[in-house]
Every structure is written in C-alpha cells, then in structure tokens.
C-alpha cells in the first residue's frame, strides 16, 4: 500500500472510477452542445436553452466533472514528472506548488461557472 494524500479521492479505485464517469459526462455534454450548434442556433435560442433548469444542471455537472477530471489527470502527470526521485526535494516543492495553482484555477472555474449559469 502506497500512501498518497494529494490525490483527489485517496483511493486509486475511486479516482479511476471518477475519471471514467466524468469523461462520459463530458463527452455527453459536448455531444449535446455540438448537436445544438450543428443544427443551427441564434442568440435568443442559446439564451432560451440556458434558461432551462435541465441545461443549467447538466452544464454544472459538466463543469464539476471537468474539475474532477482535470484534478485527477493533472495529479497523475505531476506525480510522474515532478518527483523527489527525479529532481530531489525541489520536485516536491514544484509539484505541490503547481498542484495548488491547478486546484485554485479549478475552484475559480466552478464558482465562475455557477455565476454564469445562475447569474442575472
């Protein structure tokens, strides 16, 4: 058992599952948006679409999925390339610093997303 406190769910299985579920949600969201755009939509139609509760909830789900997906994915990349093993203690400082930046960015995206969806 390897301990890892900076991963999203601490358990490899839950991270793995969340990564797959969030990928499916994101795919579904982009397919819906792609279909809406491909079938032709104007500004009024776009506003009406995002005024519906289901689209707002679906979009919020997609934003949360993006945050979880990006957290897990970026954590995997950082723990591959920026490690104590490869770069000495500098690796830990760099990795945790970058991870904090990513977390902050994702937090802003989520709040900003809520503001866009339910603002006005």
């Amino acid at each position: 058992m390897v301990t890892a406190v900076t991963s999203l769910g601490r358990s490899g299985l839950s991270d793995w599952l969340l990564q797959r579920v969030s990928a499916v949600v994101l795919l579904a969201w982009f397919l819906v948006i792609g279909w809406v755009v491909a079938t032709g939509i104007d500004y009024a139609g776009w506003q009406a679409l995002f005024a519906t509760a289901w689209m707002r909830i679906f979009t919020l789900l997609a934003v949360l999925s993006l945050a979880a997906h990006a957290w897990i994915g970026m954590w995997s990349v950082l723990t591959d390339y920026l490690t104590e093993r490869l770069m000495g203690s500098k690796g830990n400082v760099l990795r945790i610093g970058l991870q904090l930046c990513i977390s902050l960015l994702l937090f802003i995206y989520v709040i900003w997303g809520v503001q866009i969806l339910w603002g006005n």
Partner: protein
Amino acid sequence: MLQVSIYRYNPETDAEPRMEEFQVDTGGKDVMVLDVLEQIKAEQDSSVTYRRSCREGVCGSDGLNMNGKNGLACITPLSEAVKGNKLVIRPLPGLPVIRDLVVDMSLFYQQYEKVQPYLQNNTPAPAIERLQSPEDRDKLDGLYECILCACCSTSCPSFWWNPDRFIGPAGLLQAYRFLADSRDTATEERLAKLDDPFSVFRCHGIQNCVNVCPKGLNPTRAIGHIRNMLLSRAA
C-alpha cells in the same frame, strides 16, 4: 559485416557511458543477438559484460534493449532485431546500470516481493495435497509462465517514473496469478494492499508490456482483472 553498437559503462573507470562500435561477421547466418554478443566477447573484447545463462529463453537473464525494443537476446534472431545492417544494444531502460549491459534489478524485485508471490492458505493442510479442478487450474494459464526477465516493467513509462511506487506489469501479473488461484485464501488481504493510486492504478493501459513480453503474456489483461476485482469488492 554487421554493425553492432554496444552500450559501455564501467562506473569504476568511466565518467559517463558511451556507445562502442563493433563489426561482426555472422557468416550470413540468422543467429541470435546473444550469439553476436558471445562472438564479440570471444573474438574482439572480452570485457563486454552482460548476463546470460540458459541461452534458450527460459532463465530470463539476458533481457536487453535491442534496436529500441526490449527482449531476450538469446531468442531474438538478427532477422527480427536488425534494421539497415545496424544493431544497437543497450541495457534495459529505467534501472541503474552496474556495468555495460548489466542492470541493478533491486527495484524490480522489491515490487515483486510486495505482491507476496507465494500461495497463502491458512486452512488445515489436507493429508496429500490441495486439489484444484482442471477449470480452476486453467485460470492460471498465461500467468504462471512469467520468467521475471523484466522486459515488460522496464518498457513501461509508469514504471520508469515511479519504480518505487508502481508495482509494474511483471509484479501485477504475479499478483493476479495468486488472486486467481482457487487454493489461495488471502484474496481480501491482497486486494486491500493494491487499492492506492500507485500500485495498480498507475497503469494507463498503453500495453508496452504486452508488446515486448518474450513469453507472449498479457500483463495489461491481468491488471484489468485486478481492477475488476477491486471494483466488485468495493462497489
């Protein structure tokens, strides 16, 4: 004349590794890469260092990187490895080099040790032997044949970056060999040790291990089975 380029490094005398060129006359025969190494050692430079033992793909000693692909030198014919009359031989990637083509396999063995690669059964031993049905025995095919040559784990980028935390394809194939064994009763304890973000889940399924395994085994499939066992245990 075959152009052979061999990775040379002696930590006691060399500041850094270098590639040394050799010309080998194989007499037009499609010999194995190990034969070429033996010929160089016998005729040109006796200091060329590598591991070898059975020379027939059973002991797993001569895992090497030949023209960019890991494999056993003793069962890799030149016709398979050589491209454009050139053969580049390097040690297995990702492990510390002891000398020339010999690597320090400690990290590899540490990961192997972690999966407790032995049968565990605390129920009273029967008078003669623990029986297994032919169907249950069949489940071990494709798992028990591993010879621990390390070709798979040292071709895996996840193992290169985290050889101390990711068990690697060879270790995980053995982990599943005992998870799948009907005579082993430590399934729960074994699975509990694997449910962290590194041991199993650092595998991203790129199948380099399947591509290089000299015994034609499929560690990626075994890892998938472990993941499914973890999932049905926890879901």
